[in-house]
Assembly symmetry: C3
Homo-oligomer: 208 residues x 3
């Protein structure tokens, strides 16, 4: 396997694992059983990449490879065994941030490597990064990450755009990937810590 | 490009633009930021066509062509700049009606042109016409258009059926397309203005 | 058509019909009109199999064959005509159980027959069995079957796993299919009647 492929695979598994853990934490919050833990972990873990693969017409990445779902089930089992108690909410938020940052790069990388145009590859990064969390929130019937005030889509957009631009100027894939990941994670982290948000619509001229 | 292709493209962009605007208006109602405007506009604008393409096994129309998403972003920017204030709700309703009518024809047209049987082509028209709005309502956490009392699926069904039947008797695609569009829009418009609805289940024998 | 194909087709139509009826019952509960009955019946009836086909890269089963949707519409018409009144809730629950059990086998069978690995075939069975109901609950804005306490995913998992294991040891497809169906239905039925559930997370150490 070449370096590009290896990067893709490692980031892919890492993103799957942390997103899966965030799905299991959502199941923990509602005190679900172990099977539902596995189900939530799996759809959150592979949901974003599944949408990406369907949209770009690639074989869905986990269907031929049990290892991805096994990673999700292991993450679910870990959350079940070592459930983080009082720190659960914060863990969920930060795991989601890690998964989002990794997937913004992975999604764009896979799209680029299959010959998708750069602009659409950025969008694939954003969708891959956000859709797993959206799916988790929909099935868990929690308020969607998309509707929160702090930046969420924006960090994914920053990460994917940075990565695609750096690849465009022929930066090595490791450099571009790391830069994209860090950019996305740093902005999302700042958004969580400082409650950063973009000005809302109408914020410039509030109704009297 | 032949006439069929041109019709498809023009209607496609028009439907994308108005649906995208309706998505941006949903974001405006919740006072979201500009990135979320773009996100909502994009998924509403291309959601129905994306489902259609996945179901009929065609390459997803916007992935290889940035222009579709650029139209969505332009619609989002326009709503942000000229946000319609008090008329927002009504605008959303009527834009949604326009997009629905156009997509009921576009969805059926694309399916027919790829050799999908007429009956399934009607269904593709209906799905294309309704799914963008459903997606918008799900991510915006608003009551789904599907659950409103006034006719919504029915006009899409009328538009797609009219179009497919007219094509079946070999009417020119322009004529069939315009007839289908007008039928769908007129019925949906009447439903909005006169609050038209079909008799509900059990309406014939109300509980005592 | 060989025996495998015939089994697949019969179970497929049966599962489509009962799930479609459960969709129409959900529409009845909200007193929707006949078109919405048909819409709900169709997406519930074919939703699970559609997801399966998209994931395994097969042509979506109902697009080329109007008969599947016609079965859904017939089920919707039957519910409309003979609406079960006071027994509606119970009917919905049991029809859903039948559809779930049939689809857990059908989903796994189709995946296996297309060369999908056994582990992923089990997952396809579970997704096929559960996704139609999830979709029904999302569009009807009802609490998702996934969030109920009694076993729901577990019976689907049992049915699909039994079927795949029996096929693995080369049991005839009829035997494996019937065993899988009965296992899933019996467990789900017991869950409904006796309100069975797995221990919830944290159940072993309830908060003081």
């Amino acid at each position: 396997m070449d370096r590009l492929g290896l990067t893709l695979v490692i980031l892919d598994y890492a993103a799957v694992a942390v997103f899966a853990a965030s799905g299991a934490l959502a199941a923990a919050r509602r005190r679900h059983d172990i099977v539902t833990f596995g189900f939530f972990a799996s759809i959150t873990g592979v949901g974003g990449g599944t949408l990406r693969d369907l949209l770009i017409g690639a074989p869905v990445f986990w269907v031929g490879k049990p290892s991805y779902i096994l990673v999700c089930l292991a993450a679910a089992a870990a959350v079940w065994a070592f459930g983080p108690g009082a720190r659960r909410e914060a863990s969920l938020l930060w795991l989601d941030a890690l998964g989002m940052a990794a997937y913004s790069v992975v999604g764009a990388l896979k799209a680029l490597s299959l010959g998708i145009p750069p602009f659409s590859s950025v969008l694939m990064g954003v969708l891959t990064a956000t859709f797993g969390g959206v799916l988790r929130d929909v099935v868990a019937e929690e308020p969607s990450v998309l509707l929160r005030r702090e930046l969420y889509v924006t960090p994914a957009l920053l990460g994917a755009t940075s990565f695609v631009l750096l690849r465009w100027i022929e930066a090595p894939v490791m450099v571009a990937g790391l830069a994209g990941f860090l950019a996305a994670f740093a902005l999302r982290g700042a958004a969580i810590v400082f409650n950063l948000s973009l000005p809302p619509f109408g914020g410039r001229a509030p109704p009297a």
